[in-house]
C-alpha cells in the first residue's frame, strides 16, 4: 500500500510512499477520498517525504485533492516535498494554488 492515513489535531494526514504513477495513484486516491468524504476534515495534508518517484499522475493527484477539499470546504496542504521531486512539482505550477508547505513551519 502506497498510502497511510492518520489524523492529528483535526487534520487528515496522508503519508504517501514509494512510486506514484498512474497505477499506484488510483489506489491512493480511492483511499484518501473515502476518508476525506467521511470525516470532512478542515485540513488535508499530503506528506511526500517517503515518495521515491512520481510522474504527472502525482500532480493530478494533488490537483484532484485540491478540488475535493474546495468542495468539502477545507484546505489542502502538500508537505515535506523531497528535493528530488522539486523539479516536477515546480514545473506543474501547483505552487500557485498555495498548497506547498515546507517542513519547518506547520
Amino acid at each position: 500500500m502506497n498510502v497511510q492515513i492518520t489524523s492529528a489535531d483535526g487534520a487528515l494526514i496522508a503519508l504517501l510512499s514509494g512510486e506514484i504513477d498512474h497505477h499506484t495513484a488510483r489506489e491512493i486516491r480511492k483511499e484518501i477520498d473515502s476518508q476525506a468524504e467521511k470525516l470532512h476534515p478542515p485540513v488535508l495534508k499530503l506528506d511526500f517525504s517517503q515518495v521515491q518517484f512520481m510522474d504527472s499522475s502525482g500532480i493530478g493527484l494533488i490537483m484532484g485533492r485540491f478540488r475535493l477539499m474546495q468542495l468539502l470546504g477545507g484546505m489542502l496542504l502538500v508537505i515535506n516535498v523531497p528535493p528530488h521531486l522539486e523539479r516536477i512539482i515546480s514545473l506543474s505550477g501547483v505552487g500557485a494554488l498555495g498548497v506547498l508547505q515546507y517542513k519547518g513551519k506547520e
Binding site: 521515491q52 523531497p82 528530488h84 522539486e86 515546507y102
Partner: protein
C-alpha cells in the same frame, strides 16, 4: 571417493562467489552435499557419479541463499533505496555534483544493477542552492520576475488559459514552456521582439486579473 571429488565442490562453489556469501561457507555447504551424494550414490543408477553429485552439491549451496531469503524483495529494495538516497545526499554535499551509478555502486559495495533497482528513479540529491530543511518560509516564495514563478502562475491558471485567443496561447506556450526568447518567439509568430514583449505583458496582466477574481 570424497577426496577425489572435492574438485566438483570447488567448481560449484566458485560459481557463487561475490554473491554475498563467503567462499568458505559456500565450499562448506558444497562438502556437505558431496558427503550426502557419496552416501546415497549407487552404481546401479547407471550414471556417472558427477552427474548424480552435482545437483546434490548445488542443492546444499542453494540452501545458503534460501536462509534469510524469505524476506520480500520489495522490502529490501525499500531499505536499499533509503541507503542510496542518504549516500547520494552526502556525496552531493561533499563533491558539489551528483554521483553516478558506478560511484554509488563502489561506495555501497553492491553491483551497479542492484543500485539501479534500488534507485527507483526519484533519488535526486539535495539541491545545492535551496536548503532542504529550510525553515524560514512556509510558502514557497520566488522573486517576482523569475521565470519559474510566471510559469507557476500560468500553469495554475489552467482554465483561464483556455480563455486566451489561439495566438496568445501560442505566444505564452513558446515563451514559458518552450523557453524561447522574445526574439525567437517573434520570429516564429511573425512579430517584432517589441511586439512580443508588449503582448506578453498584456496577457500576463490579464491572466493575473482573472486569477485574483
Amino acid at each position: 571417493m570424497i577426496q577425489n571429488n572435492l574438485g566438483l565442490v570447488h567448481a560449484c562453489a566458485k560459481r557463487f562467489k561475490n554473491k554475498g556469501i563467503e567462499y568458505d561457507d559456500l565450499y562448506g555447504a558444497g562438502c556437505e552435499g558431496l558427503i550426502k551424494a557419496v552416501d546415497r550414490f549407487d552404481t546401479e543408477y547407471g550414471v556417472q557419479f558427477s552427474t548424480y553429485a552435482v545437483p546434490v552439491i548445488l542443492g546444499e549451496i542453494k540452501r545458503l541463499f534460501r536462509d534469510g531469503g524469505t524476506v520480500k524483495v520489495s522490502r529490501s529494495l525499500k531499505e536499499l533505496s533509503m541507503k542510496i538516497s542518504k549516500e547520494t545526499a552526502r556525496f552531493t554535499t561533499e563533491h558539489g555534483r551528483e554521483p553516478t551509478i558506478s560511484e554509488l555502486s563502489q561506495i555501497l559495495d553492491i553491483e551497479p544493477g542492484q543500485v539501479a533497482e534500488g534507485v527507483n528513479a526519484g533519488m535526486r540529491p539535495m539541491s545545492l542552492t535551496g536548503a532542504s530543511d529550510d525553515s524560514e518560509a512556509s510558502q514557497i516564495d520566488i522573486p517576482a520576475d523569475d521565470y519559474e514563478e510566471k510559469l507557476t502562475e500560468l500553469l495554475s491558471l489552467r482554465q483561464v488559459m483556455y480563455t486566451l485567443s489561439e495566438d496568445d496561447k501560442r505566444l505564452i506556450n513558446l515563451r514559458f514552456f518552450k523557453r524561447k526568447t522574445q526574439c525567437e518567439t517573434g520570429e516564429i509568430l511573425n512579430m517584432s521582439q517589441v511586439q512580443v514583449s508588449r503582448r506578453e505583458k498584456k496577457i500576463l496582466v490579464q491572466l493575473k486579473e482573472k486569477l485574483t477574481v
